[in-house]
Amino acid sequence: MKSHTWLKPAIFILVLLGVWQLVVFLHPQQLLPGPWKTALGIVDLFPRGLIVKYIVASVFRVTWGFSLAVLVAVPLGLVVGWYRRAEMALNPILQILRPISPLAWIPIAILWFGVGDLAAIFLIFVGCFLPMLLTVINAVQSVPAVYINAGRNFGLGPVPLMRKILFPAIIPRLMTGLRITLGIAWLVVVAAEMIAVNSGLGFLIVDARNAGNRYDLVVAGMVIIGVVGLLLDNWVRSLERSHALCWGFEEKQ
């Protein structure tokens, strides 16, 4: 039984690759490379270790931007979610900042941090912080009153209440939020690297554009971005599957 779970998607991907190759074969005047040329493009990145360098660079920026956003957003979200007045005060500005794409911050990131890792990390932080904060605020507000009352019966003050009741209570929703936010971080890093730095998978794409007719490297970059993104997502999913973290959901069959 087990082998079938990956067999079907694998066959489907192979069929798609075949169609892609065929279409490219039928239209030789198009610049879009086929899967074979793309694979050769990926192989081209191995000798100089570029593929490892660029993946490390992108993952490094995502790790820091994402971690900083989580470290700031979770405690802040707990406080803002708990104190009604704090939420009333902050809500308008959050709602104004929320629709601004993190990419709109690129010029400001360059003015503040120049061109380098800091600018990219800042952009990822901006992209992750608000979704994370709003998730936490929402989660805190929907914690069942019975948990809070139980905590109060034990005489817990605000800080122990947040640590011992609110934080554990929001963990299942926090995990979902983390997963979505990590996806955003991965989207932002590629865009940020096209502008603000000289390494990383986003840079690989923009550099291939500058290198003349190297669309094989462009598509190779896209494939690598997709695969690394998938691995990151799988990793957070594996955390989600832990019962200790996701006790709020029903048991899956």
Partner: protein
């Protein structure tokens, strides 16, 4: 809890495990990044005292700015050693922002952008030019267009509204008696134009090298004319330096301008010089195929020139007036307000590098 319990990870609770895993990941990925990607020369440079710090010169990978990597490469491999830290950008907006924020102290930018920035109060001065000629109007190979007049009503890509290429089109339109609005100009990132021409998304483009060469080499583009046909001594990329740098460390600016001047003479010395430049710049700086740069630099050599690089009042006044005419500038800023000619004047005594093509390879 006994020491044994602390050491054995199995006894940790889940929170501790997740935290430890996250910290371990941070350390590993940061170490790898510092080892593989961080440019330590640049990091260490920013911790030196200001008077000893090497300046950072921004450039983008086009042949109009070839003297920048050539100067860096030759100075590293010949007498004087490293003079500045070159920093490659992917486009003019980021380059301009880094210059305004003093993250870089000098840069190669297009002339109209320098005039516009100076007019907006950004403290920069033009100190030298990057090249002459070097841009071309390209149409589809085998397509119907054989002269500029036939482009009436067609879509043509330009690099930016602050580009000399756009002004070049206005000059050509004047020569053909066309109205200023008779071309549909679209701003496009230079790396995308060759592909767009091939895909028939545009009818023509006007760009600096090596993008015309890219379309030519690919077999889908044909040069309609080079810039100097309608604009003798055409210039587009020029070298600007921040005013504070000029005031506090003029000797550093002089060294940079001298180096650029020497590289210009070196590049114009002979065909082998250009072939060598195409090779090392393509491989170590622009990450472009050396064949592409060789095409752009040698087919023919007059495609781009690296002499007559002292800023001339006549040229800049012309650029400024055309900018005002075509609506991208609103002040008649005088030449002296945004140029500093002493470095170029002094650089006229310079001679070409004593570096023969292929020296570094031989070593």
């Amino acid at each position: 809890m006994s020491l044994k319990n602390i050491v054995s990870i199995k006894s940790w609770n889940l929170g501790a495990k997740v935290t430890a895993g996250a910290v371990a990941w941070l350390v590993v990925v940061s170490t790898l990044h510092c080892w593989l990607n961080v440019n330590w020369a640049a990091v260490l440079n920013s911790y030196r005292p200001p008077a000893e710090r090497k300046i950072i010169v921004g450039y983008i990978p086009v042949t109009c700015q070839l003297t920048c990597p050539v100067t860096d490469y030759i100075s590293k491999y010949s007498e004087s050693g490293e003079m500045f830290l070159p920093r490659m950008f992917q486009g003019f907006p980021e380059l301009k922002e880094a210059l305004i924020a003093n993250k870089i102290q000098a840069a190669f930018i297009v002339a109209p952008m320098a005039v516009a920035l100076a007019a907006q109060g950004v403290p920069i001065k033009v100190v030298y030019l990057g090249h002459r000629n070097g841009s071309a109007v390209v149409v589809r190979e085998g397509g119907p267009i054989t002269n500029f007049g036939q482009l009436r009503g067609k879509i043509i890509a330009i690099p930016s509204r602050f580009s000399d290429e756009r002004l070049l089109l206005f000059r050509a339109m004047q020569a053909y008696g066309m109205k200023p609005d008779s071309l549909k100009m679209v701003e496009m990132a230079p790396p995308d134009v060759a592909g767009a021409l091939q895909a028939k998304a545009i009818d023509a483009f006007v760009m600096g090298e090596p993008f015309p060469s890219q379309a030519e080499m690919g077999g889908y583009g044909r040069i309609l004319f080079y810039a100097d046909k309608y604009w003798p001594n055409y210039m587009s990329c020029i070298l600007v330096a921040r005013e504070d740098l000029i005031q506090n460390r003029p000797e550093v600016v002089q060294l940079l301008v001298d180096g650029i001047a020497r590289s210009g003479l070196w590049l114009d010395a002979s065909r082998p010089h250009r072939v060598d430049a195409a090779d090392f710049v393509g491989r170590f700086y622009y990450n472009q195929k050396p064949e592409l740069l060789r095409w752009a630099l040698t087919k023919p050599m007059s495609r781009i020139r690296y002499n007559l690089l002292e800023p001339q009042k006549k040229d800049f006044d012309e650029v400024r007036d055309m900018m005002i005419q075509t609506g991208v500038l609103n002040v008649k800023i005088p030449f002296s307000a945004y140029t500093d000619l002493r470095f170029a004047d002094h650089a006229t005594i310079e001679t070409s590098w004593k570096y023969e093509p292929g020296d570094a390879v031989a070593k």
